[in-house]
Amino acid sequence: MKYKSHKIAMNFFTFAVLLFLVQVIIGLVAAVQFIKPDFFFFAFNISRTLHINALVVWLLCGLMGATYYVVPEESGRELWSIPLAQFQFWATVVTVLVVVVGYIIMGLFPQANITVFGTLLLNEGREYIEAPRWADIMIAVSAILFLINNAMTMFKSKKITGIMGTLLGGMLFLTLMYLPGMFYTSSMVKDQYWWWWVVHLWVEGAWEVIAGALLAFMLMKLTNAPRQMLEKWMYIEVALVLFTGMLGIGHHYYWIGTPNYWLWVGGIFSSLEPIPLLVMVWDALRVTKDTRSTTNKLGLFLATAHAIFNFLGAGLWGVIHTLPSVNKWTHGTQITTAHGHLAFYGAYVLLIIAMVYITVPEMRGVKEYRMSRGYRSFWWQTVSMIMIVFIITGAGMVQTYMERLLGLDYVTVKNNFNTWFWIWRAVFGVTYIIGVCMFVYDFFKIGKEPVTATLSESKA
């Protein structure tokens, strides 16, 4: 390891990768509960909460790990304080584990979610930000320590690169946008209004800015394109992300009790949101074609795949239901679930996986590593995800037609017409998990096995 600080990055990656496995296994439980609601020892709401919270937390840990890698490398020095970073890591792990235990207790005894000091003890009962208030505060503190440490490193080095500045700017925005989820309002309309600040301004704002910065970083490491040019395009991409995404939040304010001018604001700005994502694809393809210079073919392949699936999942599967005239019928159906899966997979899951394959070999001090398992894991995951997304899009179309257009009952449609979609989702959930198992195993093996893979094998 060139920098001792990279130990912290490894810690975060390890925790992230293990949580990833937990996330998809519990996702399979949730999928089976659509067919047999009572088969597990806690109900669907708990498995879903675990599934999406594990997702968000492991992605955040992955992004933190990536930042702890990028900042020392870009600034050319160790972190401002390694012990502080160690502390931040373990504080995060402990908080997450305690919250998980709390969810499981609530699954066994719903009454255990009592009110203490005016807030709920185990589960706040708000999607994605279910973590109780005390945990919110711990998470915010952890994020602030993380920011201070990295910012101090950057300022001490007096070498503030565009990539690093944008990365930390995105992290700062991310931390700030956690705050609107941390207070109670007695109006459900206002509750959802602020809730979307967290959810939308995260995935379509702060996180997408971070993704833009990391894409530029990955391309810089794997090609010999000049930094100047990469950073310029990065600025253009992240600027377009925020110009469209900030007001694109209006696509969540159509039907929650907010004034109807949001139909215009949301419709117009959110329709433009795919543009920056398309620019990223073009950027990745052009740079890799013109200036490829690496032996890390898998890393480059994954970075490009991330850009493409970011566009397909977030951009394409998002824009199809973003206009008010369409969203009126599809809002809150399985179409949303299909979009949620492909968007998170393409934009963030593949981003972290790509960063892992680009940075872990370097941290383990090897020039080359065996890539075949990495490719195989990618294909198992990607084909399974595409199948899940098609299946659930199908379920959503049937639901929209039968329930929203014909007026059949929700439960009738779910139990009588969509059953086969649920079954097939569970089947491809299993193949997805196989892909994740390969990735987790490979994570621990990268750079530790003899490089026997030839070119033809690595294509397999």
């Binding site: 708990i46 879903r48 009454q111 279910e130 900030m246 009790g257 009952d409």
Partner: protein, 221 residues
């Protein structure tokens, strides 16, 4: 434009967008209270219970949440409150095949939750959820029977795959209950036949309408 220029465009442009969002937020908040009924203490307590039991982990409200269970925004317009109360306290007693678990909700908590759901049903949601455009037949129950459709029996009962699942499927109810007197008694006061029945009584209907319903129910074989 050089890199500095693009960077400044990014930083200041984004900041400007954020400012516009804040301005729209202030404007929106100045209108919200007039688009919804007043929030009483009971509504607020009901909302807190909504969070306590993590209803959002299965249901959507205003279309946001989880897609495992029906949307709750206008549920109080769909089924009577007497039914809702019984269902919330013990879904499996009302409907043995219910997927919703028994959460341990008390009578008092159920009242508060219903007050909260009554509030959301009155919020101006710009016309969402939309009326089914193709569905006049299916949503009326698709039976062609005037009394059955007028009294909205199909919001709780299924006949030939069409209708709601709050009550039992009655496609073949005449096989189970061939006696017209049984149906008359049941309609007048369901609880006199099924103890603690969650079906609302229909004693207020005219004899004519009751007969029409019963004749129709007896055709369901």
């Amino acid at each position: 434009m050089g890199n500095k220029g693009v960077r400044n465009l990014f930083v200041f442009g984004s900041f400007l967008c954020f400012v516009v969002l804040v301005i729209l937020t202030v404007n929106t908040f100045s209108q919200l209270d007039s688009r919804a009924p007043k929030i009483t203490e009971e509504v607020d307590l009901g909302k807190q219970l909504w969070h306590k039991y993590d209803c959002i982990g299965c249901h959507t409200i205003f279309g946001n949440g989880s897609y495992f269970a029906p949307d709750m925004t206008k549920i109080t317009e769909k089924v009577p409150k007497s039914y809702l109360k019984k269902f919330l306290v013990n879904p499996r007693k009302v409907n043995p095949s219910a997927a919703m678990p028994v959460l341990g909700i008390t009578d008092d908590e159920a009242d508060k939750l219903i007050a909260f759901l009554e509030w959301t049903s009155k919020v101006d949601t710009n016309g969402w959820p939309p009326k089914p455009v193709l569905g006049s037949k299916a949503s009326g129950g698709g039976t062609g029977n005037v009394a059955y459709e007028k009294n909205n029996c199909s919001s709780c009962h299924i006949i030939d795959g069409v209708g709601g699942t709050s009550g039992p499927d009655i496609t073949h109810v005449a096989l189970r209950h061939p006696d017209p007197q049984w149906h008359r008694k049941h309609l007048d006061n369901p609880a006199s036949i099924t103890p603690d029945s969650a079906m609302p009584p229909y004693a207020q209907l005219s004899d004519d309408e009751k007969n029409q319903l019963i004749d129709f129910l007896l055709t369901l074989k």
